[in-house]
């Protein structure tokens, strides 16, 4: 099993609350079902559980901020395109 699969597994438990809950309930089984080795499964049983929950919450907050910022920028782009389409002139902010 590669380090790449291990990083993919960590990513999943950081961003997917359901996967994280399954992992907390049964670390070895969840890691095994992702194809991780015995050694990797054993390493994951020593997870910093408090830190995992706090990090996941912090990452979710950051993703939320990015989404809001993306919506704001997209809205600005729509306005710019509409202005250009109807006026024939480039939009100046």
């Amino acid at each position: 099993m590669s380090a790449r699969a291990f990083e993919a597994f960590l990513t999943r438990i950081y961003v997917d609350a359901a996967a994280r809950a399954r992992f907390k309930a049964n670390p070895h089984a969840e890691a095994r079902s992702a194809g991780l080795s015995d050694e990797e499964c054993a390493a994951l049983e020593n997870t910093d559980w408090v830190g995992l929950e706090m990090a996941a919450r912090s990452f979710a907050h950051k993703r939320d901020l990015k989404r809001k910022n993306h919506v704001r920028i997209s809205f600005k782009n729509v306005l710019r395109n509409l202005f250009t389409a109807f006026s024939g002139r480039p939009y100046r902010h």
Partner: protein, 305 residues
Amino acid sequence: MVVGAEADAVVAEAKTMNTFADKVGLGWRSDLAAGIFSHLDRIDLLEVVADDFFDAPRREVRALQTLAAQVPVVLHGVGMGLASSVPIENKCLERMARLFEQVRPQFWSEHLAFVRGGGLEIGHLAAPPRSLETVEGAAENLSRAAALVGTKPIMENIATLIDPPGSTLSESAWISGILASSDCDLLLDLHNVYANGLNHGYDPKAFLRQIPAARFQAIHIAGGKFISAPDGTQRLLDDHLHDVPDPVFDLLEEAAALSPNPLTVILERDGAYPSMDCLLAQIDLARRALARGRARRTVAEEVFV
């Protein structure tokens, strides 16, 4: 707070005591633009978040070029995820290379972090397993980054609320391993060192002595807040929304005493902006901490000779 003529005296005194040509600057944020332009005499350089300009309209890049023509600028990347066993996509590096060419910064930097895996985006900087595999993966990514951008990035240590699972190396050994194998220098984030030390039980000053001081090139200082953990304990979150705490200035003095290089120090603030006087006062405190560290270093060198 130190203001006016007194502030000028503080800066002049700190610069006189510091013969290492250290610089102290501020992270560029558009909300701070007016205050920055009014106080360029007290800000040596600006750090610009590169990712904000990757998809920006041409006029915004032109504005950045105008800024860089007036003030020394460095570029800071936040989204590459170079410390990973997964090879970085050329697209990410090409965007940085293009911006680097357009802006001609003094240097560019990125983080010792991974940000995605298995097709999912974490949305922020995450600490990868500290292992030989990620040391090798980071070294390969950094080699490609240097080749495509044309110059090596300076790499920043990150804060992490979780002790990264699957680690076989200490944080200091892992960072030292990546710097040695990639021949990259370090952007030492002192609030990250402080936070990780508090959250994961190590002495931040001892940590500074475990990583190669000859690699210290740039330094970040910032603030954060304590957040409650599900078990009732608290951990320090590096949120860049608070003033720099005193222990971080102590660490800055320590880093200046250890480092043989001129240092570029950047104050990071991402929101909840205080007055410009408050930010400038923190820049002045950084100059004083640098001067204290440099004075200790000079005395130590004289004793050694």
